[in-house]
């Protein structure tokens, strides 16, 4: 039996298709120190992968690279074995800050996406898609509301509904729940779980919450702290689905995985602290660029800084 099975397995391996999403040696910086260095990632179709990492380590940058909103300095990002050259509606993004257009109602925000993705559908069919997406995230009563009339959790759900309505090949969720309170968060996590069970889309979920990752993902990949962040070893989440948050709390496997991922992340943290202390102890650091005026030294900017500067320069 054993001997017979082996060639068969090899055969299957040979014909295993390329990973659905593949990042190869991806590096990205914004002029300063590299934010992401040598990121490698392979995700199968239908897989739910969670990427956990410290704040500011480059998680949004990673999502932007997959979304095509940023170009890697080196390396390749491939979807379906095709190199990603720009953004497109085949990758539905749920942005960290919702990014709803404030002058459009819930339905209009979603319709903007639907009209764009399905231009050939009849108007009724498109409305039906919009309504279904709104219903999926339980927002039907808020259909005609403007984003500012909604709570944070409701806005986040609109953002998810917009991404779902586009029927993308892959969903990119950038910390969709981290701005919410714990209670809303767990409600939405359950909603995500339900939605994903319903149509098993490929999902990349960025989060800083290990429990959330364990509840939702098939695989958890830690991102080391930046600068020069890269993906650590992935942890397969072998917990049976559907996962029930109450039962999970007592599940020994859950506890084991949680400890594993947490320790991995804490290990990074310790390493980061170690390198910092080491640098401070080093006796003769004489940076060469001390003569260079402070203003011309490059420092990575937070996005909000950049925007303000541009505006200020313009006025």
């Amino acid at each position: 039996m054993h001997i017979k099975a082996r060639p068969l397995r090899n055969l299957i391996l040979t014909f295993t298709p390329m990973p659905f999403l593949e990042l190869n040696g991806v590096c990205k910086g914004f002029g300063g120190p590299e934010v992401l260095t040598d990121v490698n990632l392979a995700i199968e179709r239908g897989e739910f992968v969670a990427i956990v990492g410290y704040s500011g380590s480059g998680k949004t940058t990673l999502i932007s690279l997959i979304a095509g909103l940023q170009k890697p300095d080196r390396g390749t990002v491939k979807l379906n074995d095709l190199e990603i050259t720009g953004p497109g509606p085949d990758r539905g993004v749920v942005f960290q800050n919702y990014s709803l257009l404030p002058w459009l109602t819930v339905a209009e925000n979603i319709a903007l996406a639907v009209d764009q993705v399905f231009p050939n559908h009849s108007a009724e069919k498109r409305t039906a898609i919009v309504d279904k997406a709104i219903a999926t995230v339980n927002l039907t009563p808020a259909r005609e509301k403007l984003p500012r009339q909604l709570s944070g959790g409701m806005r986040q759900r609109v953002s998810v509904a917009r991404a779902l309505a586009m029927d993308p090949q892959i969903l990119l969720l950038d910390e969709p729940l981290s701005a919410l309170d714990a209670l809303t968060r767990s409600t939405l996590q359950d909603e995500f779980e339900r939605i994903w069970e319903a149509d098993k889309k490929t999902v990349v979920l960025i989060t800083n919450d290990v429990d959330e990752a364990l509840l939702l993902a098939d695989r958890i990949i830690p991102l080391t702290p930046g600068p020069g962040a890269t993906l650590g070893e992935s942890v397969a989440v072998t917990l049976a689905r559907p996962r029930d948050r109450k039962a999970l709390n007592h599940d020994p496997e859950f506890k084991r995985l949680r400890a594993l991922v947490t320790n991995q992340l804490l290990g990074f943290g310790a390493k980061r602290r170690a390198t910092i202390t080491k640098k401070l102890i080093l006796p003769d650091i004489l940076p060469e660029d001390l003569d260079v005026p402070r203003t011309s030294r490059k420092r990575p900017l937070r996005p909000h800084e950049i925007k303000q500067e541009e505006v200020a320069a313009a006025t």
């Binding site: 979304a67 497109g88 990758r91 942005f95 257009l101 903007l112 764009q116 505006v311 313009a314």
Partner: protein
């Protein structure tokens, strides 16, 4: 607290009373040629109680004159917005465009309407009798468009990258990005520009009418100065001020409406 409830009414009235008092005092003392408030009222009465009367080319009710001025302002202002808004968008969208045209805009912006008007008249000499009208329109448009241009440009530059990213992910066409994202996101800035532009247009019309002698509040003011009827200068000033104030209020209502959207 209750005592201060009528503040909004009493204090402004008090302010007006103080000014009227000073005015009366000055006209009675050192400024003998300045008509007193009472004289001004008596002399202006026919123009106010019959605001739409038309007794002759330069002898009409004050609101009739105002109406002439307003129609001309409306045309020049519309021209300013139609030209200024797209320029603002180009400035906001293109660094190259900004580099090319920003210096010239900064130089043209502070030029007074009094300097533009003769050029406007020269430009439209060929139109004969209508040269005054076209010259005035030209002057209003070119003086009033700068706040619209600059505010629109700032607004376009301030459109959050997040909104643009939504457009990029959806692969919106250029036209759709403009109409669905850029314009709505810029509207509050645009309306601030529109309001400031209207204020300038109203300033310019008076100057333009004075120089061209067109019928209108400004023309009336100048004519009455030449006719030594100084009461009507004051009447005109008050009307010009009131109309400007009302226009500004109306525009800021519109502006507020788009702020919240």
């Amino acid at each position: 607290m209750n005592k201060f409830k009528l503040d909004w009414l009493i204090l402004p009235l008090l302010g007006i009373a103080v000014i009227l008092g000073l005015w009366a005092l000055f006209s009675a003392t050192w400024a003998k040629d300045l008509p007193s408030p009472l004289k001004t009222w008596e002399s202006s009465k026919p123009y106010i109680v019959e605001p739409f009367a038309k007794r002759g080319e330069m002898d009409q009710g004050i609101l009739r004159f105002t109406w002439y001025s307003l129609t001309l302002v409306a045309q020049g202002y519309a021209l300013a917005l139609i030209i200024g808004t797209p320029i603002g968008f180009f400035l906001g969208l293109s660094k190259g465009f900004t580099k090319t045209f920003d210096p010239i805009i900064q130089i043209l912006r502070p030029v007074s309407p009094l300097a533009w008007l003769p050029l406007g008249l020269v430009l439209f000499l060929g139109t004969g009798k209508e040269a005054g009208t076209y010259g005035a329109l030209f002057t209003i448009a070119i003086c009033a468009m700068w706040p619209t241009v600059l505010n629109t440009a700032v607004g376009v530059r301030a459109v959050p990258q997040d909104y643009l990213n939504v457009g990029r992910v959806l692969k919106l066409s250029r036209w759709k990005t403009l109409t669905k994202i850029l314009i709505p996101a810029t509207l509050p800035y645009m309306f601030t520009g529109f309001r400031l532009s209207l204020g300038i247009a109203w300033l310019v019309i008076v100057a333009a009418e004075m120089l061209t002698g067109r019928p209108g509040v400004g023309g009336f003011l100048w004519q009455e100065y030449n006719a030594l009827i100084y009461e009507h200068i004051i009447l005109s000033i008050i009307v010009i001020g009131l109309v400007g104030f009302v226009l500004d209020r109306l525009m800021s209502l519109l502006e507020q409406r788009f702020k919240t959207a």
